[in-house]
Symmetry: C2
Subunit: 386 residues, 2 copies
């Protein structure tokens, strides 16, 4: 396998982007990544998108993105794995370069979620759960994650306040990210007095519905070394991918994210690194409890201590392992197919030293964890300054 | 890149399979491919599926298939490119093995289309066209392909009868395929008196709506040589992929399938072969005119002579280049995400000499061409007996 470098990144300012269509969003992010790399040519495209069919009545979006990017006949493939679609698209792009099938690959993650009503969006997001056994019986994602949160609070004495610290931290980070959807600080008290969605989760424990796209440009590391233009080089050190049962009720425990542990272990092994080597991490905080459980599964906190990690400030900017410096899904927004690619954008900016007010000092190695559903699919990517 | 072999194939008998769910179909085909290879272990899964969201309200199907196959934590990825989803999944599985990311990869193509009404199915298939410019204005696929047919008849004097020969030939082949949906011979007169769908296309010019799945198991050629169990070895010689404009009206000509030509040229180059080296071919005959145009784009007939190819018998079983020995989409059925994988199943059986009454004599090299929409995406795979 060839070593792979990230030579360009780009994304939109995320939000409710009523004036932009799915193709507009993808093209804007893609062109930004190409401009960032000063590249005018690509060999192939991978698009990550969860449900363009249900959200916008448009499947077959990879050739559409290729066409509207002005990239004529290039091979273009869409990858879907619910909210992990972006992360899996990144892995597919990596495989494309690593295998030698393509030299310059553009990976675009995109989702256009606000063309449908809130109820329709909830229904569509529910297609990431096991429809026959979960969604059709009324278990939507806030309810499923609420069960996980309740069990975690029961087993490990995780507190309501610890959940809140995740939201407080990520909004504080998002304040520093010009591309974040909600650039507003929140206090623990505000989180705890927000409208209840599914006990114990309140509105400010939940990631929002977002339109947005993100893109990264990949090429062989050798080529990147020769052609690097103005940015520090970022290398893909290792990627791990894994799956778990679709339905939450099929799992041994509500407090374990087995696919995250497995994907993390594979990524650490591929990179020859461990949790303590990470200088920053982007973690899939679709709900506050998700960040807590993912931090445990990735080894940033001991089992049951994920809540304490947030409370202690260790995962804040300036802490031992800053998590979600971008603002995370919580504050930056969560256009489901774009999220995994935007995590790579954030890590790349951190490892290049270009993250401005969010910059983690001496960031040399970072990790991105992106998952689908209640963790039925997961991809973990580890990047390093090269 | 490592050389890649096909060590197992399997599919269901296709049709309106009211008693089988999406996951049932995928698991049945996957287990058959694993049994065919006498394999009980896989390293990763790629699923090709066009629109499980709109057809069955279930996205995120790759981990679902992994779980129900009893394959626990393995990485699983879904690939979508409308009716080329299966072919692209095959390419993604190839990349997975070729790159060294996985050793044993199961590729499953699946679509469950009959859980919705005919109108809903037409709407869903329309999401493979450019929704904003085509589908929303009433241009469904029979209409779009009818325009291509009319233009082809105008420019090249292709006759109504030549269209019919494609249907007659493919139904004759499908009669010999126990897995085909419509195992019934048709005559040219029957095709021409069938109900008109979009002039000049009649019902028997159109592929049907189908439930079904198909699967192939891949591994490195070196491993396959050591472990081959009872079947002739089949090697992937080359794969080409390309795109074209989504909307038909953006093309230079209604009679050119540029993505097919480009994907074909790439596949021929990768394989070091040309059209005359092919002993059999599976071609994307979603409509009779599609086979005619694809045969031209792939070099089996000169430009404008695709109709004559069918009429002459050259593409019949026993002819110079037998096309769609499986029955094609026309007779075998067209569960959109499964079609591209089923083409690989057919070629593998041909190259192993296991195609029974459909066997092409001395078949050593074969080609599969799978496309999405009116040809906005295309993948061409060339296989050889190893």
């Amino acid at each position: 396998m060839r070593d792979v470098a990230i030579i360009g990144v780009g994304m939109n300012k995320w939000g409710e982007l009523w004036k932009s269509s799915l193709r507009d969003l993808a093209v804007e992010a893609g062109l930004k990544a190409m401009a960032d790399a000063k590249a005018d040519h690509i060999d192939s495209i991978v698009v990550g998108c969860m449900s363009s069919g249900l959200f916008t009545a448009q499947e077959h979006i990879a050739p559409l993105v290729a066409e509207y990017l002005g990239q004529g006949k290039v091979p273009a493939t869409r990858v879907e794995s619910a909210c992990a679609s972006g992360g899996l698209a990144f892995r597919a792009g990596f495989a494309e370069v690593a295998s030698g099938l393509s030299d310059v690959v553009l990976v675009v993650g995109v989702e256009k979620m606000t063309d449908v009503s809130g109820d329709e969006a909830t229904f569509t997001l529910g297609t990431a759960a096991d429809q026959e056994y979960e969604s059709y019986n009324g278990a939507t994602f806030p309810g499923l994650y609420a069960m996980m949160a309740n069990r975690h609070m029961h087993e490990f004495k995780t507190t309501r306040r610890q959940l809140s610290w995740v939201a407080v931290k990520n909004h504080a980070n998002g304040m520093k990210n010009p591309n974040a959807q909600y650039r507003s600080e929140v206090t623990a008290e505000e989180v705890e007095s927000a409208v209840k969605v599914a006990d114990p989760l309140r509105l400010l424990d939940c990631s929002p519905i977002t339109d947005g796209a993100a893109a990264v440009l990949l090429c062989p590391l050798d080529t990147a070394r020769k052609k690097a233009k103005g940015h520090g080089l970022v290398k893909v050190l290792g990627i791990g991918q894994a799956t778990d049962t679709m339905a939450l009720h099929s799992r041994r425990s509500l407090c374990e994210l087995a696919a995250v542990s497995e994907a993390g272990a594979r990524a650490y092994k591929a990179a020859g690194k461990g949790p303590s080597d990470m200088n920053c991490a982007e973690v899939h905080d679709c709900f506050t409890i998700a960040e807590i459980m993912a931090a445990e599964a990735l080894g940033f906190a001991a089992k049951g201590k994920g809540g304490r990690l947030a409370e202690s400030g260790a995962s804040s900017l300036g802490g031992k392992i800053p998590i979600n410096t971008s603002g995370g899904l919580k504050s930056k927004g969560h256009p489901v197919g774009a999220t995994g690619v935007a995590q790579i954008v954030e890590l790349t900016e951190q490892l290049r030293g270009e993250a401005g007010p969010r910059q983690v000092k001496r960031a040399r190695t970072g990790l991105a964890q992106n998952m689908g559903g209640t963790g039925a699919s997961c991809v973990v990517s580890i990047l390093g300054a090269a």
